[in-house]
């Protein structure tokens, strides 16, 4: 497949640079870069669902929050080491994703977008709920401490956490790359392009979508856990609907169905607010909006689209942009009206 033939050199150079940065920039910058990596994982998770499988979620902030709280609760209340919270957060979020995705994915299209949006609205309030306060800390949230480097390594906490997060990111990206270029990734894209035809080829659409949703929630949950460890604090108000929207922005700006795009998108959403604030202290939101619109105008397919254009000038690769709008020939995965009538008749 095409992914296999891509040169490995740029990836190695980027990785080398990423490791070198740990020793070149300030601790505050390293904290920001750690957040970039966490968001890149979350955006990659979202990309599997939206970019590859064509199912829109506006509520992945909810899974990010669940991952973050899982890490914080385990570390603060149960003395679980930070690294061990990641697989637990992964399992919990995958479970949530599966349970939520199973009924929600039957809705499909815009209705799925709304259902996930509702989830994103509900989660911050659930986190404040009195019954859970002993664990969640209610409105106050939970403060956790930054982990020390292991094995007596002479690194600052920020350096270590950045390198640790980088390792996790590399592993997760590698697993995603394997999955997405194989038969499962192909089936995901087939479902996105034409669900009925994919089904005729033997793809179990409901199962594939539900598993993808769970996987996507899992990635986002791990990202949430890493983010919480880096920020050293979780509170309900940190996980408003804005998190979901921000992840979505990162996905679109980075460019869908692209691993590198997820990293670009994460860089964008971490650094753009700072840049906007430097330009205007009074109205950073407006500046943010203007820059965002400018980006979408200049790079309609995101950073990944720009890369594709540079790599193959002339060959305007058919972008999977129509993923977000099902082709007219694609019937909804639900039962057609005709089918229902036949059953009752």
């Amino acid at each position: 497949m095409s992914a296999a033939r891509r040169p490995i050199l740029p990836v190695i150079l980027a990785l080398g640079l990423a490791v070198a940065l740990a020793f070149l920039v300030s601790d505050y910058r390293l904290f920001q870069l750690t957040m970039v990596l966490a968001y890149a994982i979350a955006i990659l998770g979202l990309d599997m669902l939206i970019g590859y499988t064509g199912q829109i979620s506006l509520g992945h902030g909810a899974f990010y929050a669940v991952g973050a709280y899982t890490a914080a609760i385990l570390m603060a209340n149960f003395d679980v080491p930070y690294w061990a919270t990641l697989p637990i957060a992964a399992l919990i979020c995958a479970g949530f994703g599966f349970a939520f995705g199973f009924p929600a994915l039957r809705l499909g299209g815009l209705y799925l977008a709304l259902a996930t949006f509702a989830l994103a609205i509900a989660v911050p309030q659930l986190l404040k709920y009195k019954a859970f306060e002993a664990w969640t800390g209610g409105v106050q949230g939970i403060v956790i401490s930054k982990p020390d480097p292991p094995f007596g390594l002479k690194l600052s906490q920020d350096q270590w956490l950045y390198l640790f997060t980088l390792m996790v990111t590399v592993v997760l990206f590698l697993l995603a790359r394997n999955l997405l270029r194989g038969r499962i990734g192909l089936a995901m894209r087939a479902v996105r392009d034409h669900a009925l035809a994919a089904e005729a080829m033997g793809v179990d659409i409901a199962l594939l979508k539900t598993r993808t949703f769970a996987l996507s929630a899992m990635y986002t949950g791990i990202a949430g856990a890493l983010g919480a460890i880096a920020v050293q604090f979780v509170a309900p108000d940190s996980f408003s609907v804005l998190v979901s929207i921000t992840l979505f922005v990162g996905l679109v700006v980075g460019g869908i169905t692209s691993l590198a795009g997820a990293v670009f998108g994460a860089i964008f959403i971490v650094f753009l607010p700072n840049i906007a604030e430097n330009i205007s202290k009074a109205a950073p939101g407006a500046i943010y909006g203007v820059i965002l619109i400018a980006f979408l105008y200049l790079l309609p397919m995101g950073f990944a689209g720009l890369r594709r254009r540079v790599a193959r000038p002339g060959a305007t690769a058919q972008p999977p942009a129509q993923a977000l709008t099902p082709s007219p020939g694609t019937p909804s995965p639900g039962k057609s009206a005709a089918e229902i009538r036949i059953k009752s008749g």
């Binding site: 497949m1 095409s2 697993l175 995603a176 394997n178 999955l179 194989g182 038969r183 499962i184 990734g185 192909l186 089936a187 894209r189 087939a190 392009d193 034409h194 009925l196 035809a197 994919a198 089904e199 005729a200 080829m201 033997g202 793809v203 179990d204 659409i205 598993r211 996987l215 690769a317 058919q318 972008p319 999977p320 129509q322 993923a323 082709s327 020939g329 005709a338 089918e339 009538r341 036949i342 059953k343 008749g345």
Partner: protein, 278 residues
């Protein structure tokens, strides 16, 4: 690899159940609200046959096609494939059972290349899941190699090797139809369902299609059921023709028999016309 596919086909011909009938449609009835779309239609397709299903617009042939391919559920009657009742089989299982299909007006995965499109047709031949794929286990590589080898064979056979890495949306319609056929064939179906394969093709392309259908039938020991408006193609390529009108069967026999059947002539061309002129 070509040898393998042919051996598969030869084996299937010899070892199948004794019954000569592959597809059996018995008394299938479908109502849309108050409209009777199909009223107890019955016919059989024997192994290795090319069966044409014809009828004027609204005769119920597409409805029947959709019943066989699992899109519609039928109120009464029975459809059995290779001895198995299809009523209880979910759509996604049909490919593994041995039923491949193409779509009216082509239903390809538009943003994907020819190669990728055809590979999806081999999806049901694979077993590896999310975890095995993510970990790139050796079994996944073996599976992918097997699929890739099959793919090369079909790319060549259907004259698609030169466009293998082109995104399908940019190909001419006739080529897209061949991609769709290759996608259906790579899964190794016993029965191939074709929904108006000649639609949108010009005269020469229809002639080439007729040759291609006969050729793949021989090579892959296929049984083919085609729904088609194009009388010329149906009459040229079919061993057997079933004609529908107003949801009932009005003729069933060899192309010559059906062509001479007065009810078919009336249904298609009005009184006093000669169907062979179509």
């Amino acid at each position: 690899m070509r040898g393998d596919v042919e051996t598969d086909a030869a084996l299937r011909l010899r070892s199948g159940p004794d019954a000569a009938v592959l597809l059996h449609v018995a008394g299938v009835t479908v109502r849309f609200g108050g409209v009777q779309a199909l009223a107890g239609v019955s016919f059989e397709v024997a192994r290795g046959q090319i069966c044409g299903l014809i009828g004027p617009n609204g005769s119920g042939k597409t409805t029947l096609f959709n019943c066989i391919s699992g899109i519609y559920r039928y109120g009464a009657g029975r459809i059995t494939f290779d001895g198995q009742d299809l009523a209880a089989v979910p759509r996604a299982r049909l490919a593994a059972l041995g039923i491949g299909r193409t779509f009216q007006n082509v239903a390809l995965f538009r943003s994907m290349t020819v190669r990728e499109n055809i590979l999806v047709g081999a999806h049901h031949l694979g077993r590896s899941g999310f975890i095995a794929n993510a970990l790139a286990l050796p079994s996944v590589a073996r599976e992918a190699d097997a699929a890739a080898a099959r793919l090369e064979n079909f790319l060549e056979r259907l004259d698609l090797a030169s466009v293998a890495d082109v995104v399908v949306a940019r190909l001419p319609f006739g080529t897209q139809k061949r991609v769709e056929l290759a996608r259906a064939l790579i899964g190794g179906p016993k029965l191939l369902l074709l929904d108006e394969p000649a639609g949108g093709l010009n005269h020469d392309e229809v002639a080439a299609l007729a040759d291609l259908l006969r050729d793949i039938r021989e090579r892959f020991a296929l049984t083919i059921l085609l729904v088609e408006h194009h009388m010329n193609l149906v009459m040229r390529v079919s061993d057997k023709v079933v004609a529908l009108e107003f949801g009932t069967k009005i003729a069933d026999g060899t192309p010559d028999e059906v062509r001479r059947e007065p009810r078919v002539i009336r249904a298609y061309l009005g009184d006093g016309a000669d169907a062979s002129a179509a």
